[in-house]
């Protein structure tokens, strides 16, 4: 059935909580038995011993007290299962968050964000019923029937035998029919998800269908598909429902058998009425836990499915690195230190070929170094390694004499300013979005940076100036404005090193021209590493690193490289050819 050892082991830290859930569930069952006992005593007294209301008043008080205690106990059972669930949810979200952070920025492309958030929030929520309903019920549906047997056996061994014989029939049949049905069911779930996928397909293609005047056919097809699906599924369900039939019939028929069998013995006078009534009242309770288990089956299935998705994320293969000791936190980038890369290689965990293959280069201080190459040549990977978003699989980086791996990542980054290609603005105020670059900056410094980045006037025009929230209810910024905020962040950083991934966003040419000019202003007096896309930028660079398939193909300045007549020249020529 839906029992997953892995999931079960998740409750280990809150074992006691789980035991309490079972404990209160069992206590509630005990009061149910006592309730049945006292009720049968009351009725027996009035019916056979001709007792009056007063005669049975003590029993009635006991009955009411038991009823109150029972509802309190069952509430306690739920209370602890809720507590258990809270813990499980917190622990899974925490694990997922840590993993997501470990997966890091590189693999978290925007298209996967939605899916990840869905797993993090809804996926974890879907575990709720598994832990609060299905799992405790699995235990209770074993213990409660045993408990009832303990009470029934001394009273009537014949009924006890009916219980013992019929009880296993239910799980056995559920299993037998269930396993056949499950196979068919699985197939059917596939059809169902294919149905949903088809529906999504037509919905997304609706504009296309509309342009071809073909919507009516799609309507017919949705209808036909749905009906076909309905007929097929019902054929499967016919069998799947048999397990419910067996469950129901076994439970009701054995009550019927017990009633008749006891009735006949009562006739012969060798049975006591109050015992008979007690057994009759308690008989449905004997089968109830198993029936509840049946209804929570679906919750169990959903929980396992959600767990699979969570596991997919948790088991995501992140590249392991041999470098663990980055403890040095008293590092500052000195002006005369160059950055030396020695035999750097990098392989993504899900790919066979090396993204970077034996890269060695020196980035000199106070110079502009540009990286060029086709997309996929390893430019971004190289920059990400220098930003220390991940460690190289092989090779070393030295800052002057210091091995970069010995320096704490955070300390290293404090020496950097970074202009990413697609900067992200958080849905906070503009001011917070700027200050993220330098938490110690005063408001004046923030305004100053905004002025240099030519975004100050724009911000002042916003409804709440620097306190305007970015996003839905605040300012919707254009691509150019976002680039300028990123520029202001870089100014605020005020660091000796600058890493740039030159923007290629589809901006209006005139706007882009201005932004790039402002970007150049940042370069002065800094060591700059830039992934370059514009001819002007490349020509300006002191040194150009030309990359191809993860290797450095050539390097030098523009004139030198043109003279060499190599890959760089080819890149430029190919570029020129397609332009009219």
């Amino acid at each position: 059935m839906n029992f997953s050892k892995e999931l079960f082991s998740e409750i280990k830290p809150v074992r006691i909580n789980f035991i309490l859930v079972i404990f209160f569930g069992l206590l509630a069952a005990v009061t149910t038995i006592l309730l049945a006992l006292s009720l049968s005593k009351i009725i027996n007294g009035v019916f056979l011993s001709k007792q009056t209301l007063q005669d049975v008043s003590t029993l009635i008080v006991i009955f009411i007290a038991l009823a109150l205690v029972k509802s309190l106990l069952s509430w306690c059972q739920h209370f602890f299962s809720t507590r258990l669930v809270s813990f499980i949810k917190k622990s899974f979200r925490k694990k997922l968050l840590i993993k997501i952070e470990e997966i890091g920025p590189l693999t978290l492309k925007s298209e996967r964000t939605g899916e990840l958030v869905n797993t993090l929030l809804n996926g974890v929520d879907k575990l709720e019923d598994y832990f609060s309903k299905f799992l405790p019920q699995m235990f209770l549906s074993v213990f409660i029937p045993i408990l009832i047997l303990v009470f029934v056996f001394p009273l009537d061994w014949l009924t006890a035998i009916v219980f013992i014989v019929t009880a296993p029939i239910i799980p056995i049949f559920m299993f037998l029919i269930g396993s056949i049905a499950e196979k068919m069911n699985k197939k059917q779930w596939q059809t169902l998800s294919r149905m949903s996928a088809y529906f999504l397909d037509v919905l997304q293609g609706l504009p296309t269908l509309k342009l071809f005047n073909r919507t009516q056919e799609a309507i017919d097809k949705i209808n036909d598909f749905s009906n076909l699906f309905r007929i097929k599924t019902l054929n499967v369900l016919k069998i799947a429902f048999l397990s419910a039939l067996v469950l129901e019939v076994t439970a009701t028929l054995s009550v019927a058998v017990i009633a008749v069998e006891i009735g006949l013995r009562l006739l012969n006078g060798n049975f006591v009425f109050s015992d008979a009534l007690f057994i009759l009242i308690i008989a449905p309770e004997f089968y109830l836990p198993l029936r509840i288990l049946g209804t929570t089956y679906h919750a169990g299935m959903e929980g396992i499915a959600a767990f699979e998705r969570i596991k997919d994320v948790l088991n995501y293969n992140t590249t392991k690195s041999n470098f663990t000791s980055n403890t040095k936190d008293d590092f500052t980038f000195a002006q005369n230190n160059s950055i030396i890369l020695k035999n750097i290689s990098y392989t993504y965990s899900d790919r066979a070929t090396k993204a970077l293959d034996n890269i060695s280069l020196t980035i000199e201080t106070n110079k502009v170094t540009a990286i060029v190459g086709a997309s996929g040549s390893g430019k971004t990977t190289l920059m990400n390694i220098l930003l220390r978003f991940f460690n190289p699989t092989e090779g070393n980086i030295f800052i002057g004499e210091t091995d970069l791996h010995l320096v704490k990542k955070e300390t290293w980054r404090e020496n950097l300013a970074w202009l990413p290609q697609n900067p992200h603005l958080f849905s906070k105020s503009i001011r917070e979005n700027l200050q993220i670059a330098n938490v110690r900056a005063t408001f004046e410094e923030v305004v100053n940076a905004a002025k240099i980045a030519h975004i100050h006037e724009f911000i002042l025009d916003l409804p709440n100036g620097y306190n305007t929230l970015v996003g839905e209810n605040g300012a919707k910024l254009s691509g150019g404005e976002i680039q300028r905020i990123a520029l202001a962040r870089a100014y605020l950083r005020n660091s000796p090193l600058l890493f740039v991934d030159e923007p290629t966003a589809n901006l209006d040419p005139i706007v882009e021209e201005e932004i790039v000019k402002d970007m150049y202003k940042l370069f002065s007096g800094k060591t700059v590493l830039i992934i370059a896309h514009r001819l002007n930028t490349i020509i300006k660079a002191d040194k150009i690193i030309v990359m191809k398939d993860g290797r450095i193909e050539e390097s030098g300045n523009h004139n030198e490289l043109i003279l060499t007549n190599g890959y760089y020249k080819k890149l430029l020529d190919a570029h020129g050819e397609i332009i009219c």
């Binding site: 949705i222 570029h575 020129g576």
Partner: protein, 579 residues
Amino acid sequence: MLKTFIKIVSLGKEYKFWMLLAALLGFFTVGSGIGLMMTSSYLIAKATMQTPIYQLQVAIVGVRFFGISRGIFRYLERYISHNVTFKLLAKFRVWFFKSLIPIVPSKTIDFSSGDLLSRSIEDIESIEHVFVRVISPPFIFVATSLLMFGLLSIFSLTYSLIFIFMFFTSAIGIPLLTFLLSNKTSKTITTLKSNLKEFSIDNLQGISELIFYNQKDKWINDFDVLNNKLIKAQTRMNNIQSLHESLTGLMMNLTVIIMLFAAIPDVTSGILEGVYLSVISIGIMASFEAVAQIPQAFQYLGKSTEAGKRLFEITETTNQSPYQNTVTEFSSDYNLRLDNISFSYNNKTNALSNISFSVNPGEKVAIVGASGAGKSTLVNILTKLWDYNSGDIFLGSLNYKNISDDRIRNIISVVPQKVHLFTGTIKENLLVAKPDATDEELILTLSEVNLNTFVNDLPEKLNANIGELGKKLSGGESKRLTIARALLKDSQIIIFDEINSHVDNLTEKKILETISKIKTDKSILFITHRIVQMEIFDKIIVFSNGKIVESGTHKELLKLNSYYKKLVDFQNQKITDTV
């Protein structure tokens, strides 16, 4: 809430017979349970009185009958209610699709995100359960209360009234109590959930910045704070919900004991036969099965009306064209002329202002400009997916406003920027454009876009499956297949919308070759931000910020110190993305 609920229910009213049948079967299931327990207790009580066995035969038969019938009724009920549910699902899907047709692509709804659509699919699946989970339980409850009322009134009307009072108090009072207790909490949960979602998306999208600026610990902390708040609220909610089960059980026991209070003196005074004391008590216990489903029904009512509200919000977006489709006769004059067209989204700044130009039959016209210049808006207006705010468009001598949408879409075909291929075969995708096209025709069209050899090399040729949304094809292949689809449609005007963005040089070259070869009797409108091989066009219109800034041939435009020239220079500046 009620209004939405009624709207949902009325969508499925054609299946009311099946719904009624399923609900009746559900009632029979509960009824059989009551019958089984009552006859059983009657049997043992009578047996205790040493009643002759022949007098017990009826009871024994009753016990056996109810013992079997309950299972069978349950089985039939599940079968039929699933049947209804699936029928409703089909119905709701068709309904949703049909309501979308006039409003897609809408100005207010972003259909590019699959998010909204998959959400809608979930919503549809949630309202499909409205019958089984929301309508059926109260029906079963009411039927059961009538049954018990009848049965108890055989003994005394007082019993019936006591029962009805307790029964309704349980079914209405308990959900009402928990609703009042949890109303605020459930609102808090909704808010916190959406906050947490927005917060997570925002920060995951900016995770590079978070790590770089050493903010990730703060982020995880903030997440924890929000998450803990949510879980606390959810815990509170769960604790309130747990009251349902506890209180329903309590009410059942109280009903039994109150009934005994009324009945015991009757037994003592001889009004009621002692045998029935157990029959009544056990019957009451069995009848509470009908109450157990009620709280859940209330919860689903909330959920499904929420889902319904979201769906109706989409389907009730009005996008009625204010124009009359009066023209029925057409000339073969396909001269397209725009006269002072302006358009704005939701009354914000103009996406297009005062656009005027014409495309003569057989002319190849390029529209260039940076992204955001309004080019794609133009496509939606020309295909009548949106209505323009002012100005006129003429097709020959006919005003656009008077031509039906279908007619326009027969004359104009579009190769959209976002390729949409349907899951299926190459042939199926082509036949969307022309259902009665022969295989020869298809191959001929494929050769026009240089896809014939590619298709020929496939083992299944035209019947090759291209995977989910055409994912088995490369970017260039799927673009060319889309072009073939538009060519096959055999319309007089073809619009190409940014089809050469995001493709490599070689593919771009091939695409442009294909276009230059298209038969001269067709007018072409080529929309692009890439200025490549512009010589093949008879006229180039340059857009900037929703306005036409220049027009002319490639050579004419280059001579001037033009915006066009700037665009070209700017493009020449970029190096690596074109390689």
